[in-house]
């Protein structure tokens, strides 16, 4: 049968059909590295592979190219192209630093197919959990009437010193005793404790400020489409899309409801993000206190005048 196409050198199509329209522009290589890559000269060097589409040689037969197939899960793409999997750039498993979440629920509002759900709980502000001598220590804000107060339970705290959260299989015991602040009078505060519903009078310096803070976010991974809008909506740095893309499967839909424990990003892993966030909050708090102080001074001046 008739041969419709001429044969020629390697890019014979470009040469044989250069009829003034097709393929006038030969692919022109700009930099040497690309030329070498495209022509495959460096493929024999097993250390020079960059992309998944590369072919690889081997030490035994350097001239025989093997295809570079990544044998997941024994090999992973992160090893080859790590720049693809930076957390925050890659839309992976949703991870939240619950410690710094302010429950503004912007992420819930932006989620296209509402798969985010949150519930709040009484907690001690993380700023107060810092040591006094640390950078942002004790900036958690002071007690307010109608607000909540927390009394640290020393023995539980001591037990938590030795508790290993990674290996522990039981939920931690409550570390604080929460109650509503009825009235504040100088050094003391009247608190109605939630557990016993009795009112006692405590010294303010023993008390920490309690907040109604977000603790549990249920995320229906079965509905999540990993669009990353929640990550962008979060105006603090608490909401991440981590770079984990496996372990997101389950046998039932309930398996795909990720609660806080499965979406938690440990502070130790995201330390700098958390520090950033804490610095942000500390700045706000300092500004607030400075304003209050100057207001007070202004009031004092007015009193003098």
């Amino acid at each position: 049968m008739a041969r419709t196409f001429s044969r020629g050198p390697f890019n014979r199509w470009a040469k044989a059909n250069a009829d003034g329209y097709h393929n006038k522009i030969e692919p022109n290589m700009l930099d040497e590295k690309s030329i070498a890559r495209a022509e495959g000269n460096i493929m024999n060097d097993v250390t020079a592979h960059e992309y998944t589409a590369d072919r690889e040689g081997s030490e035994l037969f350097p001239t025989i190219w093997k295809p570079y197939t990544i044998m997941y899960p024994y090999e992973r793409l992160e090893d080859l192209e790590p720049w693809l999997f930076e957390p925050g750039q890659y839309n992976g498993r949703i991870g939240v630093v619950w410690e710094t979440c302010t429950a503004c629920k912007l992420c819930i509002r932006i989620c296209p197919n509402d798969c985010l759900h949150m519930s709040t709980k009484l907690r001690v502000d993380i700023m107060d959990l810092q040591d006094e001598d640390s950078e942002h220590g004790g900036l958690g804000g002071d007690l307010q009437v109608g607000g909540y107060a927390a009394l640290p339970l020393e023995e539980v705290l001591a037990a938590h010193e030795v508790r290993n959260p990674v290996t522990a299989h039981t939920a931690p015991e409550p570390e604080y005793r929460f109650g509503e602040v009825i009235s504040l009078s100088g050094k003391t505060a009247t608190v109605r404790w939630n557990d016993s519903n009795k009112e006692t009078i405590e010294y303010s310096e023993n008390l920490l400020r309690g907040d109604e803070q977000i603790v549990s976010g249920m995320i229906d991974m079965g509905r999540c489409m990993f669009c990353g809008l929640c990550m962008e909506a979060c105006d603090s740095t608490s909401f991440f899309m981590t770079n984990e893309y496996d372990g997101l499967s389950g046998y039932t839909r309930e398996d795909l409801w990720f609660d806080a424990s499965r979406t938690r990003v440990l502070i130790s892993e995201q330390q700098e993000a958390v520090d950033e966030e804490l610095a942000l909050r500390a700045k706000k708090e300092r500004a607030k206190r400075a304003k209050k102080a100057e207001k007070k001074s202004a009031k004092a001046k007015k009193a003098e005048a």
Partner: protein, 224 residues
């Protein structure tokens, strides 16, 4: 961007586009002004801000206008025909049919020749142009417009889809069938009408009914 061989620009320039739109509008107005057809030049409000022809057409003249556009004005491509339901649009606007047409300088080619058009060199009816035809229908349970299936073959399945989803009848359309909805959908069920809410609207997937058993679309028994 211009052709390396001839130096002519590949792109249709804004002036060509503007003049072609003006010409098309004046032609339409001169032909159909008595029939109540109002054509005007509008501009895309972003990007390269090109002009397009926007036409307001009463439904009874739609077929005549379509034939004239197709056979006298070279509008050879029916891009999209869609319908909109305006339940609270007032006394005279219950439904709306929007047709997007395009004029393409496309000719049948003899074999072995590539017809390379350079946009900068096109003139007259060869200049590509976008048409947007809006047809306002009064409120009714059976909104009806004439079908242009006979004018553009491409309008066939567009009208099928519009009837299937919005429920606008195209009279004169042959073998009108459901294309996207199941064939056994209840008669008169057209999901894009506004009385149909989204399925599971206000339904808390996560806590009320996990596996989705026992869910009923809240518009199960609602038809037009």
């Amino acid at each position: 961007m211009s052709d390396k061989a001839t130096g002519a620009s590949w792109m249709v320039s804004a002036d060509q586009n503007e003049s072609a739109a003006k010409a098309a509008v004046s032609a339409i107005n001169s032909h159909f002004s008595k029939a109540g057809v109002v054509a005007s030049v509008l501009k895309h409000s972003s990007g390269s801000k090109r002009s397009y022809v926007s036409i307001e057409c009463p439904p009874e003249h739609w077929l005549a206008l379509a034939k004239w556009l197709r056979f006298d004005n070279g509008v050879n491509h029916c891009s999209m025909i869609t319908g909109i339901h305006h339940p609270d649009g007032g006394a005279d606007k219950g439904w709306e049919v929007v047709a997007h047409l395009m004029r393409m300088p496309v000719k049948n080619q003899e074999p072995g020749v590539a017809h390379v058009m350079r946009g900068g060199e096109l003139e007259g009816n060869d200049i590509p142009m976008e048409y947007e035809v809006g047809i306002i229908l009064p409120p009714s349970t059976t909104p009806t417009v004439p079908s242009v299936q006979s004018v553009w073959v491409g309008a066939d399945w567009n009208e099928k889809e519009t009837w299937d989803l919005v429920g606008i009848n195209f009279e004169g359309h042959k073998d009108m069938v459901r294309v996207l909805n199941p064939h056994d959908s209840p008669v008169g069920f057209h999901p894009l009408q506004k009385q149909h809410r989204l399925r599971y609207d206000g339904f808390n997937e996560m806590y009320d009914d996990a596996q989705g058993f026992g869910r009923k679309p809240i518009d199960a028994d609602k038809v037009k």
